[in-house]
Subunit: 286 residues, 2 copies
Amino acid sequence: MRENFDIHEFNITIIGLGLLGGSYAKSLKKLSPKNIWAVDIDEKALKDGEELGVINKGYRDPKEPLLNSDMVIICLYPNLVKKFIKDNKDYFRPNTIITDATGIKNGLIDDINSMLPEDVDFVFGHPMAGREKKGLEYSSAEVFEGANYILTPNSRNKETSLLIVELIVRGMGFRNVVRVDPQKHDEIISFTSQLPHAIAVALINSDNLNVNTGKFIGDSYRELTRIANINAELWSELFIGNKDNLISKIEVFEEKMKLIKQAIIDDDKEALEREFKESSRRRTQL
Amino acid sequence: MRENFDIHEFNITIIGLGLLGGSYAKSLKKLSPKNIWAVDIDEKALKDGEELGVINKGYRDPKEPLLNSDMVIICLYPNLVKKFIKDNKDYFRPNTIITDATGIKNGLIDDINSMLPEDVDFVFGHPMAGREKKGLEYSSAEVFEGANYILTPNSRNKETSLLIVELIVRGMGFRNVVRVDPQKHDEIISFTSQLPHAIAVALINSDNLNVNTGKFIGDSYRELTRIANINAELWSELFIGNKDNLISKIEVFEEKMKLIKQAIIDDDKEALEREFKESSRRRTQL
């Protein structure tokens, strides 16, 4: 077991120096760890990261930094996380804490845990913040300021590892850190994150007005469609990877839309007002 | 016809000194009209308006200010606009320009025009900005800053009246002022304003997670539900008053949601990516 945790003695390696990895690096800098290293296949991202002082050193080959890291933060697309662990499991040094930022945990945790050496602890996490842009140049420490962070502990995790990850993400700027089991996490996220993205896409794609819509909108349309500008590859993975939860949430949403539609058809002002009062109550409590 | 338009010689009366009327008064002040008067049944709103210097004088009875006004701005709930004109049509002085802020124009314009004296010109307009709160205390000049404004001219309008309203709303802070015929306005607004409100309400009302949802959300859910805190009376009027347009837009949206749902069911990553790329293209162009 790790003793006397001191972030200033920590070597941290970030796997994938894109928008998310870059934002991690910039936020971690505030905590002054001993080293922030990054691994990426994109030579330019690594060079930029070094020149901007975002990382201490970049590597294309993970072996060297992994052999010397206390913490590894995987910021890869969901489908690449397992492969990364499979390819590199022999390079983690004893007591390494690994964490991730993957938006869905189903099918990930057991597979990864079964591959890991016993003295390596993978604490699965999910930062509830991001940007729709891609690449290091759009990364920023502010992305995480005041945001929510979800930990999804599993039976293999040591309490010290969970606490260290919590300490670090709080230091990075996250305000609420909650623990929830992985199955519940995926259900929650299908509602709070994937369903809103599906709605935003469906809304803007249903524009059949044939006008310059931008001249006729207020804040509501602007806000409801911001996330319709979406990373197609990432989100199609997330949607399909969490399909049972997401379909179920879409269907509950569809029922609520039908209810509103029927009330309009019936000129049922009372039914509409009931829905509006309930939604106002829920939004105020949020 | 009015000649030599000079805002500093204009007496302007606002009918209804709530959030919207108060925001009009505060924005109009920047233009230094001769007088800003207000009519309301709420004695307290009038007194507060006078004490805060938002208006020059408040009236419960519209007769006196109307007899002396160059411009009248009606900031009432949609269902009250016609009644106000019917009850007060004899008090408008010649060349008065009336305008409104009503969110739907169908069934309003012809009825009102048929009641008005020939020398009074009603320029129907729609400020695409607002807040979900009620009352003068939440009003502010900033609400309209940079926002869109829609004019819906009809055959009875004089070009000078349309230009004067455009000049004044631009002076109040609106950035884009577009003209569109009233039928098209109602269709556009069902999509850009009413549909987003229906979606936000349906989304938050479909929360069946049984957790403290606020701890598990990012900006996307926060943004998509802000307008779910909604003025129940006003929006049920707007929905039912624009029912044919709104139902049709809800149905197009429902089809797009179904398409996304089916792609998830079919593990059809390509179909999802196609939708995401289209939505991203549209959002970037907005």
